[in-house]
């Protein structure tokens, strides 16, 4: 076990290393992420394994029983998402041992997030951990690591002001919609897909007066359920293109592998309403809306990176709090490291 502890690792490709165009190629479907986790765990040289897969990060946490597993993990990830080794190597990081603990704690507390201090990531980490545990891919070390990371995240948030003044994507979208339309009571919103970020953005818009929300999803039942919760209507995914001209704000968050909205579709809709602007919010990864759409007159396209950079504009004000949180997390990481070492030494005796 002592040797195994020396082989704690995390391979990650996140918004720090990879731009949006690369991240959308790295992205895994939930099924592929689960398959990768199982595949790695089935190997003799990997004792424990957990894959965190969100819109801004693909990370493989693990405990190896052999020292040189990095190349193996990288090859498996490339085979799973279909990218080349060169691309992965250029846009990823590899941490081991104590650095893994510090990294996991910073991810859970939102310090490593694109929108620093956001709280959604904690839920995503908890889900990834629950799934991996249910699949019996985790063991003593990763269980301890993730449970402690959730506690550390909580204490960093309560003891510092990292979440204070934090702006959500929904709030940024509302501010942008106000800069485009003025008041929102006459604006019609189309939600394509039922992603979490899109749902929250739609809720923010609704709270600021948007009365007409329509949901289009691959599964009509999902669309109907979300539309019901938002007080709107549901349409078939195949119908949304024909009705595009009716909407002012389009929020897209599907897991579709290709583009759903291209330049021609938007240009056609725009011709039928040339004096009304289009506000397109693409929070999907891979992206749903062709970036070339932004070259059209009276169309305003914002993707995840754009919204996050706007949300982080007040980051300077929180720099001191972020440094304090990092110090707190370092203490927690060091304590856990000592605990794990002590346990392994006692187990060895």
């Amino acid at each position: 076990m002592s040797e195994a502890l020396q082989s704690l690792f995390v391979l990650g490709s996140t918004h720090h290393e990879a731009p949006l165009e690369v991240r959308e190629r790295m992205a895994l479907t939930p099924e592929k992420a689960a398959a990768l986790q199982q595949e790695l765990h089935a190997r003799d040289d990997i004792r424990e394994c957990l894959v965190v897969n969100t819109c801004n990060r693909v990370e493989v946490y693990g405990l190896a029983s052999a020292p040189n597993v990095e190349a193996t993990i990288r090859d498996h990830l490339c085979a799973c998402n279909g990218v080349s080794r060169e691309l992965l190597d250029a846009h990823s990081t590899w941490h081991t041992n104590l650095d893994v603990l510090q990294h996991a704690f910073e991810v859970s507390s939102g310090l490593d997030s694109q929108m620093v201090g956001e709280t959604d990531i904690l839920g995503q980490m908890k889900t990834a951990y629950a799934d991996a545990r249910a699949a019996k891919c985790t063991g003593i070390v990763l269980n301890r690591l993730f449970e402690k990371s959730f506690q550390a995240a909580k204490s960093a948030r309560t003891q510092t002001g990292i979440t204070r003044g934090q702006v959500s994507i929904g709030n940024v979208a509302v501010d942008l919609a106000n800069r485009i339309f003025g008041h929102l009571r006459d604006s019609r919103v189309l939600l394509i897909g039922s992603g979490d970020v899109a749902e929250k953005t739609a809720q923010s818009l609704k709270s600021r007066g948007v009365a007409d929300i329509t949901v289009a999803s691959r599964t009509y039942e999902n669309a109907h359920a979300l539309a019901h919760s938002l007080g709107g209507a549901a349409i078939e995914l195949s119908d949304f293109a024909a009705q595009l001209k009716r909407f002012d704000i389009v929020i897209s968050s599907t897991a579709a592998p290709g583009m759903l909205l291209d330049r021609d579709m938007i240009a056609t809709a725009l011709k039928q309403r040339p004096d009304r602007p289009f506000f397109l919010i693409d929070v999907a990864l891979p992206r749903d809306i062709d970036p070339a759409v932004d070259t059209l007159e009276n169309v305003y396209l914002y993707n995840l990176d754009d919204l996050s950079s706007i949300a982080n504009e007040n980051l300077e004000l929180r720099k001191a709090e972020i440094a304090r949180a990092r110090t707190i997390l370092k203490g927690h990481a060091w304590n856990l490291w000592l605990q794990l070492r002590r346990r392994t030494m006692m187990a060895a005796k």
Binding site: D175, L176, N178, R179, I180, F181, G182, P274, D275, R276, P277, D294, E297, N298, Y300, Y302, D306, S309, I310, E313
Partner: protein, 286 residues
């Protein structure tokens, strides 16, 4: 009562101009320093500038015994005055953020340029409109429509700035204070239609005078005015048909206003020449 005031018309106008420029610089400073936009202070400063400018124009009107629209200096002052008056009507009603700042800037620029270029304030005989109230109404309405086109140009500039910010994903600074692109676009459309209606009315009154005294209206002045009117009418028609919208509409409005402004000087020169060519007729009307 006006005789008792210890200020000349130019002095009063100069004070008004200084207040407009101070308002503009104060507004810019607040934005640069990222302080809350001083809407009330801006309104108060514009009111102060407007009072002094009104006083100056009244003093000038008393001197020339008529509407002070006889030279480029007075025309510029009248356009700036009408522009600020329009701001007082439109600003509070539609709550267009930063319109006060842009109005103060343009009014300050027009007034200060007119004050600095001495040649624009050429003397002319009193009663140039020959005591004809219709032609005075024509001139006043025409200048008021130009003020409307000035505010349309300002709103268009604000639209282009806001659109640039949205396209370039800029969030801070002036962008956060500007009204929405849709509000600005709609406002420009409404003001443009009103401006064209006012200019059309001015041209109808002018046409009555022209029919009776064709020799008193220079062909160049008539052509330039009709060209400006036709240009604005074309933009309005295309806007209503939704063929000229948003960015291109804003650029057309700014371009047309610059053309209208630039045409004032040759038009006025042509009028001056026409006046000097017919001194006997003009003197007779005094």
């Amino acid at each position: 009562m006006l005789e008792e005031i210890a200020l000349t018309a130019r002095e009063a106008i100069a004070i008004g101009t200084s207040i407009y420029l101070s308002a503009f610089l104060f507004g810019v400073l607040m934005i640069v320093l990222r302080k809350p936009y001083p809407r009330a202070a801006m309104f108060a400063l514009l009111t102060g500038g407007f009072i002094f400018q009104t006083l100056g124009l009244n003093l000038r009107g008393a001197e020339i015994k008529g509407c002070p629209l006889g030279n480029i200096f007075e025309i510029s002052q009248f356009i700036a005055w009408s522009l600020v008056l329009l701001y007082f009507i439109i600003g509070p009603a539609f709550r267009l953020r930063l319109l006060g700042l842009f109005t103060a800037g343009l009014a300050g620029l027009l007034c200060s340029t007119a004050l600095l270029v001495r040649a624009w304030d050429t003397p002319y005989p009193a009663g140039i409109f020959g005591g004809n109230p219709w032609i005075e109404l024509h001139a006043a309405l025409a200048m008021f429509s130009y003020a409307m086109f000035a505010i349309v140009a300002l709103v268009s500039v604000m639209f282009l700035i806001q659109q640039h910010g949205l396209k370039k994903k800029q969030f801070k600074g002036v962008y956060q204070y500007l009204p929405s692109v849709q509000q600005l676009d709609l406002m420009a459309k409404r003001l443009l239609i009103t401006g064209v209606l006012v200019l059309s009315a001015a041209l109808i009154f002018g046409a009555v005078f022209w029919v009776n005294h064709p020799e008193r209206v220079p062909v160049f002045k008539l052509s330039a005015t009709c060209l400006v009117w036709a240009g604005y009418l074309t933009v309005v028609v295309l806007r209503i048909q939704k063929k000229l919208v948003t960015r291109r509409h804003a650029i057309a409005c700014i371009g047309l206003f610059l053309f209208a402004l630039a045409s004032l000087w040759p038009v006025q020169s042509a009028s001056d020449t026409a006046r000097t060519d017919e001194p006997s007729d003009h003197q007779a009307s005094e």
